[in-house]
């Protein structure tokens, strides 16, 4: 039929303005789809901040709190786990490995984590990736430390540097363990997880400096209440334990086991479950992002509507000519409507192409800098739904000038009034 050919030629004739409209809609499609992709990537990255760990054990507290301080280094444990419980648990026949974590010290605002070599061997993140060294070597001596990539980058550290850790979690701590400096053994590769922002030392060194420190306090600072340290690191307590089990299936029974531990009140959580819970708490933000990008699409479609509407008056002449050679009002309607639909589909195609292009370009960078792994795959149902909705909106937008020109062409006939 004559109309599609005419629509395409008419589009080509005004390729600059229509091209800009297509671009603006395409950009909004890209934004919407890109945000959706990043959201999915962020969710996967977030929920796989820690992987391979079947259970996290801490003193009795809320699961979210335990997750936040043990994995994200946010907040503090309300209480510690005794060495005795740690030994109990780690000797359980179902336990393959146990990583003790001792929190509470800082280095220039970064968390210091006391742990054992188990951590470097068994800790996994993202899709089961191991920790790797960027420079230096894994700690061999008691007073060796390893830092995350961000710490090293921010403080300009290199292997061999001496660092001093401070008691407490404030940025400026008055009580430092200057008498026991640590030697920086290695710098880990970027993981995109909180590991990047932490300093790892041996559990033994933490215990030792705290014992010495406790003595200091009693000598020089009688005002400091002894109770503050009761059950603290001075007694070799732990903040949390990461557990790997021999079989994943045992996680639930093991969790119950630990929760009903006789020796002291403990909480065990499955990190994946709680991570998802925390993510869902943040879903408001993600919904707001989607709404904002939805509005961007609306703005893009409005600009198309404006362009189509402003062109209508000058196109009434064109429509009268078409009518005179036998075009029906319906043809005229389809011509305008078809243009809107064509522009929308073109914009969607372009937008999708741009999203995938950007993803291919930025995937490595996103993963190394933000630990954000965006999966390049066919659009899923949500994304297809979004695209369908945009196409439908373009259709509806096209109806408005379409109906208008239909009315014009009925009223004008071939009388060109302009």
């Amino acid at each position: 039929m004559a109309i599609p050919g005419l629509a395409i030629k008419s589009f080509r004739n005004r390729k600059f303005t229509t091209g800009l409209t297509v671009l603006s809609i395409a950009l909004s499609v890209m934004l919407l789809l890109g945000i959706e992709k990043i959201r999915q990537g962020a969710e996967t990255s977030f929920t796989s901040t820690i992987s391979g760990t079947d259970l996290i054990v801490g003193a009795r507290s809320s699961p979210v709190q335990l997750l936040l301080y043990s994995v994200f280094h946010i907040g503090n444990p309300t209480n510690n786990i005794s060495k005795h419980s740690y030994e109990d648990i780690s000797e359980h026949p179902q336990v393959e490995w146990a990583i003790p974590l001792s929190l509470g010290d800082t280095h220039k605002g970064y968390r210091v984590v006391g742990t054992t070599t188990q951590f470097y061997q068994h800790f996994r993140f993202a899709r089961g990736q191991k920790l790797q060294l960027e420079q230096g070597e894994w700690p061999g001596q008691t007073y060796d430390a390893v830092v995350g990539a961000e710490v090293a980058a921010a403080l300009g550290y290199k292997p061999g540097d001496k660092i001093v850790i401070a008691h407490g979690s404030g940025d400026e701590s008055f009580i430092t363990h200057k008498d026991r400096p640590f030697k920086l053994a290695g710098i880990m590769k970027r993981t995109g997880t909180p590991v990047d922002r932490a300093v790892y030392v041996s559990l033994k060194s933490i215990d030792t400096i705290h014992q010495a420190y406790a003595g200091d306090v009693h000598d020089h600072d009688p005002l400091m209440a002894h109770g503050e340290h009761a059950g603290g690191k001075e007694q070799g307590g732990l903040s949390a334990i990461l557990l790997g089990l021999k079989s994943r299936g045992a996680a639930i029974s093991m969790q119950r086991n630990i929760n009903e531990h006789d020796h002291e009140p403990l909480t065990a959580i499955m990190p994946g479950v709680v991570l998802l819970e925390v993510w869902q708490m943040m879903s408001v933000v993600e919904r707001i992002l989607m709404i904002v990008s939805g509005f961007v699409v609306v703005v893009g479609l409005f600009s198309m509507l404006i362009i189509l509407m402003t062109s209508l008056n000058e196109r009434r002449r064109e429509m009268a000519i078409l009518r005179s050679v036998g075009a029906r009002p319906a043809h005229v309607f389809i011509l305008i409507m078809g243009e809107a639909v064509f522009l929308t589909l073109l914009a969607i195609g372009l937008g999708v192409a741009m999203v995938y292009g950007l993803m291919v370009l930025m995937q490595p960078w996103l993963e190394s800098s933000f630990g954000l792994y965006v999966v390049i795959s066919w659009p899923n149902t949500t994304e297809l739904m979004l695209l369908m909705i945009i196409a439908l909106c373009g259709f509806v937008v096209g109806l408005i000038p379409g109906i208008r020109i239909y009315r014009y062409s009925l009223a004008d006939g071939m009388t060109i009034k302009i």
């Binding site: 050679v325 006939g413 060109i416």
Partner: protein, 245 residues
Amino acid sequence: MSYQTTVIEIADLRFAWKKQARPVLNIASLQVNRGERVFLRGPSGSGKSTLLNLLAGVTTPQSGVLTVLGQDLTALGSAQRDHFRAHHIGFIFQMFNLIPYLSVVENVTLPCRFSDKRKHKVLAQADSLEDEAIRLLDHLDMAHADVLHKPVNELSVGQQQRVAAARALIGAPELVIADEPTSSLDADRRTAFIDLLFRECGNANATLIFVSHDNSLVAPFERTIEFEQLNNAALTEQPKLKAIK
């Protein structure tokens, strides 16, 4: 349909834009014969455009007889009237005759996109629509390469009107209606354009209805119709617009 002698037959025709409104057109009788070249003269606003819309089947009268090429237009639905127009009538407007995004040749062949009948008529004589368009343009002295490949809005007004004439004539429609086609041309070009139109209508054996308010163009036409005499619902009977003070 091609052998009848009466091309337009109107009797007791009444047309009003709204049912209750005063009729804009009230024509007791009008007959135009095949091959006639009719000059339809009247001031603007006298209802000429309305008559053209009726002849073209864009609108229908409230009452009366309206037969074009033996076809009772009042008996046709709007889709059939649109087809009828596409098949049998060629139009030339006052100005802005061309679709800006089509080439000269595409503009000329445009009616064939909407009418298979005219397309087949063309293809019966010529190898392709483009050949016929170029043949017509050549008759109008418009087939130079530099003209053919120019964007249509870069053509002069006179050139545009000649392209429009070629479009009205392609596929040999029986009726050619020209609505003030020369008003944007200067005096020399007017006469030349009318000569051209006569020659081509003669070649195609088409009837020409030439609408204008310009008395100086009357001479070559074999028949002149004064629109104000034709239309009993003429402007003079209608209340005048109040003068703006």
